[in-house]
Protein backbone atom coordinates (compact mmCIF):
# COMPACT_ATOMS: atom_id res chain seq x y z
CA UNK A 1 0.00 0.00 0.00
CA UNK A 2 1.51 3.26 -1.10
CA UNK A 3 -0.93 5.30 0.88
CA UNK A 4 -1.55 3.92 4.35
CA UNK A 5 -4.84 4.15 6.17
CA UNK A 6 -4.71 6.37 9.26
CA UNK A 7 -3.46 4.94 12.53
CA UNK A 8 -5.84 4.12 15.41
CA UNK A 9 -5.20 3.34 19.06
CA UNK A 10 -7.08 0.39 20.53
CA UNK A 11 -8.35 0.12 24.11
CA UNK A 12 -9.83 -3.14 25.35
CA UNK A 13 -11.79 -3.91 28.51
CA UNK A 14 -10.86 -7.46 29.39
CA UNK A 15 -13.69 -8.04 31.91
CA UNK A 16 -16.73 -6.17 33.09
CA UNK A 17 -15.72 -4.01 36.05
CA UNK A 18 -12.18 -3.46 34.81
CA UNK A 19 -11.08 -0.36 32.94
CA UNK A 20 -10.22 -0.22 29.23
CA UNK A 21 -6.49 -0.59 28.72
CA UNK A 22 -4.32 0.35 25.78
CA UNK A 23 -3.68 -2.80 23.73
CA UNK A 24 -1.90 -1.44 20.67
CA UNK A 25 -2.57 0.26 17.38
CA UNK A 26 -3.69 -0.59 13.86
CA UNK A 27 -4.57 0.92 10.49
CA UNK A 28 -8.14 1.47 9.30
CA UNK A 29 -9.99 3.73 6.88
CA UNK A 30 -12.60 4.84 9.42
CA UNK A 31 -13.91 4.21 12.93
CA UNK A 32 -16.18 1.31 11.98
CA UNK A 33 -13.38 -0.51 10.19
CA UNK A 34 -11.06 0.23 13.11
CA UNK A 35 -13.49 -1.51 15.49
CA UNK A 36 -13.74 -4.58 13.26
CA UNK A 37 -9.99 -4.73 12.76
CA UNK A 38 -9.46 -4.38 16.50
CA UNK A 39 -11.84 -7.27 17.09
CA UNK A 40 -9.85 -9.43 14.67
CA UNK A 41 -6.37 -8.36 15.68
CA UNK A 42 -6.67 -7.95 19.46
CA UNK A 43 -9.58 -10.05 20.76
CA UNK A 44 -9.25 -13.32 18.82
CA UNK A 45 -7.99 -15.13 21.93
CA UNK A 46 -10.89 -14.09 24.08
CA UNK A 47 -9.15 -11.02 25.52
CA UNK A 48 -12.06 -8.65 25.72
CA UNK A 49 -15.68 -7.70 26.28
CA UNK A 50 -15.53 -4.13 25.00
CA UNK A 51 -13.38 -2.13 22.58
CA UNK A 52 -12.69 1.58 22.19
CA UNK A 53 -10.82 2.99 19.23
CA UNK A 54 -9.54 6.51 18.77
CA UNK A 55 -7.61 7.93 15.88
CA UNK A 56 -4.00 8.36 17.02
CA UNK A 57 -3.83 11.98 15.85
CA UNK A 58 -6.38 12.93 18.52
CA UNK A 59 -4.00 11.91 21.30
CA UNK A 60 -1.80 14.65 22.72
CA UNK A 61 1.33 13.14 24.24
CA UNK A 62 3.87 14.57 26.63
CA UNK A 63 7.32 15.17 25.19
CA UNK A 64 9.96 12.75 26.55
CA UNK A 65 12.47 15.61 26.46
CA UNK A 66 10.46 17.29 29.19
CA UNK A 67 10.52 14.26 31.47
CA UNK A 68 12.92 15.98 33.85
CA UNK A 69 10.67 18.90 34.69
CA UNK A 70 7.46 16.89 34.43
CA UNK A 71 8.20 13.80 36.47
CA UNK A 72 11.44 14.04 38.45
CA UNK A 73 10.16 16.55 41.01
CA UNK A 74 7.74 13.88 42.26
CA UNK A 75 10.49 11.36 42.96
CA UNK A 76 11.58 12.66 46.40
CA UNK A 77 8.12 13.41 47.76
CA UNK A 78 7.41 10.15 49.54
CA UNK A 79 4.95 11.90 51.83
CA UNK A 80 2.52 12.01 48.89
CA UNK A 81 2.04 8.28 49.26
CA UNK A 82 -0.32 7.32 52.08
CA UNK A 83 2.30 5.03 53.64
CA UNK A 84 2.57 6.75 57.03
CA UNK A 85 -0.69 5.46 58.46
CA UNK A 86 -1.12 2.32 60.50
CA UNK A 87 -3.89 0.31 58.93
CA UNK A 88 -6.35 -1.62 61.07
CA UNK A 89 -6.11 -5.38 60.44
CA UNK A 90 -9.67 -5.51 59.13
CA UNK A 91 -8.76 -3.35 56.14
CA UNK A 92 -7.47 -5.56 53.37
CA UNK A 93 -6.29 -4.96 49.83
CA UNK A 94 -4.74 -1.54 50.37
Amino acid sequence: MKKNWPLWEVFVRSKNGLEHRHFGSLHAADAEMALENARDVYTRRNEGVSIWVVESKHITASNPENNGELFEPAQDKVYRHPTFYTLPDEVKHM
Binding site: M1, W5, L26, H27, A28, A29, E32, M33, E36, N37, R39, D40, V41, R44
Partner: protein, 252 residues
Amino acid sequence: MMKNENLIQYIYGIADNALILGQRLSELCGHGPSLETDIAITNMALDLLGQTRSYYQYVAQLSGEGKTEDDIAFLRTERQYKNVLLVEQPNRHFGYVITRQFLFDMFHLLLLQNLQNSKDEMLAAIAKKGIKEVSYHQRFSLDWMKRLGDGTPESHNKVQEAVNDLWKFTDELFHMTEDDRIAFEAGVGVDVASFKTLYLQKVSDILTEATLTVPEIKWFQKGGKQGIHSEHMGYLLADLQYMQRAYPDMKW
Protein backbone atom coordinates in the same frame (compact mmCIF):
# COMPACT_ATOMS: atom_id res chain seq x y z
CA MET B 1 -37.28 -43.13 5.30
CA MET B 2 -33.87 -41.63 5.99
CA LYS B 3 -30.91 -43.99 6.16
CA ASN B 4 -27.54 -43.23 7.70
CA GLU B 5 -26.04 -42.83 4.23
CA ASN B 6 -28.63 -40.15 3.34
CA LEU B 7 -27.77 -38.23 6.50
CA ILE B 8 -24.04 -38.49 5.77
CA GLN B 9 -24.55 -37.21 2.22
CA TYR B 10 -26.74 -34.42 3.55
CA ILE B 11 -24.01 -33.37 5.98
CA TYR B 12 -21.38 -33.38 3.21
CA GLY B 13 -23.59 -30.94 1.32
CA ILE B 14 -23.20 -28.49 4.20
CA ALA B 15 -19.77 -29.33 5.62
CA ASP B 16 -17.86 -29.44 2.33
CA ASN B 17 -18.80 -25.81 1.67
CA ALA B 18 -17.11 -24.85 4.93
CA LEU B 19 -14.00 -26.95 4.21
CA ILE B 20 -13.47 -25.73 0.65
CA LEU B 21 -14.14 -22.06 1.42
CA GLY B 22 -11.91 -22.38 4.48
CA GLN B 23 -9.15 -23.80 2.26
CA ARG B 24 -9.57 -20.96 -0.26
CA LEU B 25 -9.31 -18.37 2.51
CA SER B 26 -6.28 -20.14 4.03
CA GLU B 27 -4.45 -19.60 0.75
CA LEU B 28 -4.49 -15.89 1.59
CA CYS B 29 -2.78 -16.31 4.96
CA GLY B 30 0.17 -13.93 4.86
CA HIS B 31 -1.03 -12.40 1.57
CA GLY B 32 -3.87 -10.15 2.72
CA PRO B 33 -3.92 -6.61 1.38
CA SER B 34 -3.17 -5.31 4.87
CA LEU B 35 -2.17 -6.92 8.15
CA GLU B 36 -5.65 -6.26 9.55
CA THR B 37 -7.61 -7.79 6.65
CA ASP B 38 -5.15 -10.68 6.50
CA ILE B 39 -5.91 -11.59 10.11
CA ALA B 40 -9.65 -11.09 9.59
CA ILE B 41 -9.67 -13.47 6.62
CA THR B 42 -7.53 -16.04 8.43
CA ASN B 43 -9.93 -15.86 11.41
CA MET B 44 -12.82 -16.65 9.09
CA ALA B 45 -10.87 -19.56 7.58
CA LEU B 46 -10.33 -20.96 11.07
CA ASP B 47 -14.01 -20.53 11.98
CA LEU B 48 -14.99 -22.46 8.87
CA LEU B 49 -12.46 -25.23 9.46
CA GLY B 50 -13.71 -25.49 13.05
CA GLN B 51 -17.26 -25.95 11.80
CA THR B 52 -16.01 -28.51 9.28
CA ARG B 53 -14.39 -30.53 12.06
CA SER B 54 -17.63 -30.69 14.05
CA TYR B 55 -19.54 -31.94 11.01
CA TYR B 56 -16.87 -34.47 10.00
CA GLN B 57 -16.48 -35.84 13.52
CA TYR B 58 -20.20 -36.48 13.46
CA VAL B 59 -19.96 -38.16 10.05
CA ALA B 60 -17.09 -40.33 11.30
CA GLN B 61 -19.26 -41.41 14.21
CA LEU B 62 -22.24 -42.11 11.93
CA SER B 63 -20.26 -44.10 9.37
CA GLY B 64 -18.92 -46.41 12.06
CA GLU B 65 -16.12 -47.76 9.89
CA GLY B 66 -13.31 -46.62 12.15
CA LYS B 67 -12.92 -43.52 10.01
CA THR B 68 -11.63 -40.24 11.42
CA GLU B 69 -12.42 -36.65 10.53
CA ASP B 70 -9.07 -36.53 8.70
CA ASP B 71 -9.96 -39.44 6.42
CA ILE B 72 -13.09 -37.57 5.44
CA ALA B 73 -11.31 -34.28 4.82
CA PHE B 74 -8.23 -35.62 3.03
CA LEU B 75 -8.96 -38.99 1.44
CA ARG B 76 -12.07 -38.53 -0.65
CA THR B 77 -11.90 -38.15 -4.41
CA GLU B 78 -13.13 -35.03 -6.22
CA ARG B 79 -16.55 -36.47 -7.09
CA GLN B 80 -17.19 -37.27 -3.43
CA TYR B 81 -17.06 -33.61 -2.36
CA LYS B 82 -20.51 -32.05 -2.42
CA ASN B 83 -19.69 -28.35 -2.04
CA VAL B 84 -21.32 -25.76 -4.27
CA LEU B 85 -19.26 -24.38 -7.18
CA LEU B 86 -19.25 -20.88 -5.67
CA VAL B 87 -16.90 -21.70 -2.80
CA GLU B 88 -14.24 -23.38 -4.94
CA GLN B 89 -13.80 -20.37 -7.25
CA PRO B 90 -10.27 -18.94 -7.08
CA ASN B 91 -9.25 -15.80 -5.21
CA ARG B 92 -8.15 -13.82 -8.31
CA HIS B 93 -8.26 -10.43 -6.53
CA PHE B 94 -9.64 -8.95 -3.31
CA GLY B 95 -12.92 -8.05 -5.06
CA TYR B 96 -13.48 -11.75 -5.82
CA VAL B 97 -12.58 -12.80 -2.28
CA ILE B 98 -15.10 -10.38 -0.79
CA THR B 99 -17.85 -11.04 -3.33
CA ARG B 100 -17.57 -14.82 -2.99
CA GLN B 101 -17.63 -14.42 0.79
CA PHE B 102 -20.61 -12.07 0.70
CA LEU B 103 -22.67 -14.26 -1.65
CA PHE B 104 -21.93 -17.29 0.50
CA ASP B 105 -22.32 -15.65 3.94
CA MET B 106 -25.79 -14.33 3.09
CA PHE B 107 -26.80 -17.90 2.25
CA HIS B 108 -24.84 -19.55 5.06
CA LEU B 109 -26.49 -17.52 7.81
CA LEU B 110 -30.00 -18.27 6.51
CA LEU B 111 -29.08 -21.95 6.28
CA LEU B 112 -27.80 -22.16 9.86
CA GLN B 113 -30.72 -20.16 11.23
CA ASN B 114 -32.99 -22.85 9.77
CA LEU B 115 -30.74 -25.77 10.65
CA GLN B 116 -30.71 -24.85 14.35
CA ASN B 117 -34.32 -26.15 14.47
CA SER B 118 -33.29 -29.55 13.10
CA LYS B 119 -34.61 -32.66 14.83
CA ASP B 120 -31.04 -33.94 14.76
CA GLU B 121 -29.63 -32.58 17.99
CA MET B 122 -26.03 -32.67 16.84
CA LEU B 123 -26.72 -30.68 13.66
CA ALA B 124 -28.86 -28.22 15.61
CA ALA B 125 -26.02 -27.68 18.11
CA ILE B 126 -23.37 -27.20 15.40
CA ALA B 127 -25.65 -24.70 13.64
CA LYS B 128 -26.31 -22.75 16.84
CA LYS B 129 -22.61 -22.38 17.52
CA GLY B 130 -21.89 -21.42 13.91
CA ILE B 131 -24.51 -18.67 13.76
CA LYS B 132 -22.44 -16.23 15.81
CA GLU B 133 -19.33 -16.85 13.74
CA VAL B 134 -21.16 -16.54 10.45
CA SER B 135 -22.98 -13.38 11.58
CA TYR B 136 -19.58 -11.78 11.94
CA HIS B 137 -18.41 -13.11 8.54
CA GLN B 138 -21.48 -11.54 6.99
CA ARG B 139 -20.91 -8.27 8.79
CA PHE B 140 -17.33 -8.20 7.48
CA SER B 141 -18.09 -9.12 3.86
CA LEU B 142 -21.20 -6.94 3.66
CA ASP B 143 -19.28 -3.96 4.99
CA TRP B 144 -16.52 -4.52 2.43
CA MET B 145 -19.01 -4.90 -0.44
CA LYS B 146 -20.26 -1.40 0.34
CA ARG B 147 -16.76 0.00 0.75
CA LEU B 148 -15.54 -1.43 -2.56
CA GLY B 149 -18.73 -0.80 -4.50
CA ASP B 150 -19.13 2.75 -3.25
CA GLY B 151 -15.38 3.42 -3.12
CA THR B 152 -13.11 4.52 -5.95
CA PRO B 153 -13.93 3.90 -9.66
CA GLU B 154 -11.26 1.17 -9.65
CA SER B 155 -12.65 -0.68 -6.61
CA HIS B 156 -16.18 -0.30 -8.00
CA ASN B 157 -15.21 -1.82 -11.35
CA LYS B 158 -13.28 -4.68 -9.79
CA VAL B 159 -16.04 -5.69 -7.42
CA GLN B 160 -18.67 -5.36 -10.16
CA GLU B 161 -16.52 -7.64 -12.32
CA ALA B 162 -16.52 -10.22 -9.51
CA VAL B 163 -20.29 -9.91 -9.01
CA ASN B 164 -20.87 -10.41 -12.75
CA ASP B 165 -18.57 -13.44 -12.84
CA LEU B 166 -19.81 -15.15 -9.67
CA TRP B 167 -23.52 -14.49 -10.06
CA LYS B 168 -24.00 -17.62 -12.20
CA PHE B 169 -23.09 -19.74 -9.16
CA THR B 170 -25.78 -18.32 -6.86
CA ASP B 171 -28.72 -20.37 -8.12
CA GLU B 172 -27.09 -23.67 -7.18
CA LEU B 173 -27.20 -22.68 -3.51
CA PHE B 174 -30.95 -23.30 -3.59
CA HIS B 175 -31.04 -26.60 -5.46
CA MET B 176 -32.37 -29.56 -3.49
CA THR B 177 -30.56 -32.85 -4.03
CA GLU B 178 -32.29 -36.18 -3.40
CA ASP B 179 -30.53 -36.42 -0.03
CA ASP B 180 -31.55 -32.84 0.82
CA ARG B 181 -35.16 -33.75 0.14
CA ILE B 182 -35.01 -36.93 2.24
CA ALA B 183 -33.35 -35.07 5.13
CA PHE B 184 -35.92 -32.26 4.90
CA GLU B 185 -38.85 -34.70 4.95
CA ALA B 186 -37.37 -36.38 8.03
CA GLY B 187 -37.32 -33.02 9.83
CA VAL B 188 -33.52 -33.09 9.92
CA GLY B 189 -32.63 -31.02 6.89
CA VAL B 190 -33.50 -27.57 5.63
CA ASP B 191 -35.54 -26.69 2.54
CA VAL B 192 -33.03 -24.27 1.03
CA ALA B 193 -35.37 -23.42 -1.84
CA SER B 194 -37.73 -21.86 0.70
CA PHE B 195 -35.49 -18.86 1.36
CA LYS B 196 -34.24 -18.19 -2.17
CA THR B 197 -36.57 -15.19 -2.63
CA LEU B 198 -35.52 -13.75 0.73
CA TYR B 199 -31.85 -14.22 -0.19
CA LEU B 200 -32.20 -12.53 -3.57
CA GLN B 201 -34.06 -9.65 -1.98
CA LYS B 202 -31.41 -9.13 0.72
CA VAL B 203 -28.48 -9.48 -1.68
CA SER B 204 -30.04 -7.13 -4.23
CA ASP B 205 -30.67 -4.51 -1.54
CA ILE B 206 -27.03 -4.58 -0.44
CA LEU B 207 -25.69 -4.51 -4.00
CA THR B 208 -27.92 -1.53 -4.79
CA GLU B 209 -26.76 0.25 -1.63
CA ALA B 210 -23.18 -0.46 -2.72
CA THR B 211 -24.05 1.27 -6.06
CA LEU B 212 -23.54 -2.05 -7.86
CA THR B 213 -25.70 -3.55 -10.59
CA VAL B 214 -27.53 -6.81 -9.95
CA PRO B 215 -26.77 -9.05 -12.95
CA GLU B 216 -29.74 -10.19 -15.00
CA ILE B 217 -28.91 -13.58 -16.42
CA LYS B 218 -31.08 -16.55 -17.30
CA TRP B 219 -28.49 -19.32 -17.32
CA PHE B 220 -26.86 -20.54 -14.13
CA GLN B 221 -24.00 -22.96 -13.53
CA LYS B 222 -24.54 -26.05 -11.36
CA GLY B 223 -22.99 -29.41 -10.55
CA GLY B 224 -21.02 -29.07 -7.33
CA LYS B 225 -23.79 -30.55 -5.21
CA GLN B 226 -23.66 -33.67 -7.39
CA GLY B 227 -19.86 -33.80 -7.15
CA ILE B 228 -19.29 -32.39 -10.62
CA HIS B 229 -16.87 -29.57 -10.03
CA SER B 230 -15.19 -26.77 -11.96
CA GLU B 231 -11.64 -27.06 -13.29
CA HIS B 232 -10.32 -25.29 -10.16
CA MET B 233 -11.32 -28.04 -7.74
CA GLY B 234 -8.58 -30.50 -8.70
CA TYR B 235 -5.84 -27.98 -7.99
CA LEU B 236 -7.42 -27.05 -4.69
CA LEU B 237 -7.64 -30.69 -3.62
CA ALA B 238 -4.05 -31.30 -4.71
CA ASP B 239 -2.95 -28.63 -2.23
CA LEU B 240 -5.34 -29.80 0.46
CA GLN B 241 -4.55 -33.50 0.20
CA TYR B 242 -0.87 -33.45 -0.70
CA MET B 243 0.51 -34.51 2.69
CA GLN B 244 -1.86 -37.42 3.24
CA ARG B 245 -1.43 -38.63 -0.34
CA ALA B 246 2.36 -38.40 -0.34
CA TYR B 247 2.83 -39.72 3.21
CA PRO B 248 -0.20 -41.90 3.99
CA ASP B 249 -1.19 -41.90 7.67
CA MET B 250 1.48 -39.36 8.54
CA LYS B 251 0.89 -37.45 11.78
CA TRP B 252 2.28 -34.13 13.01
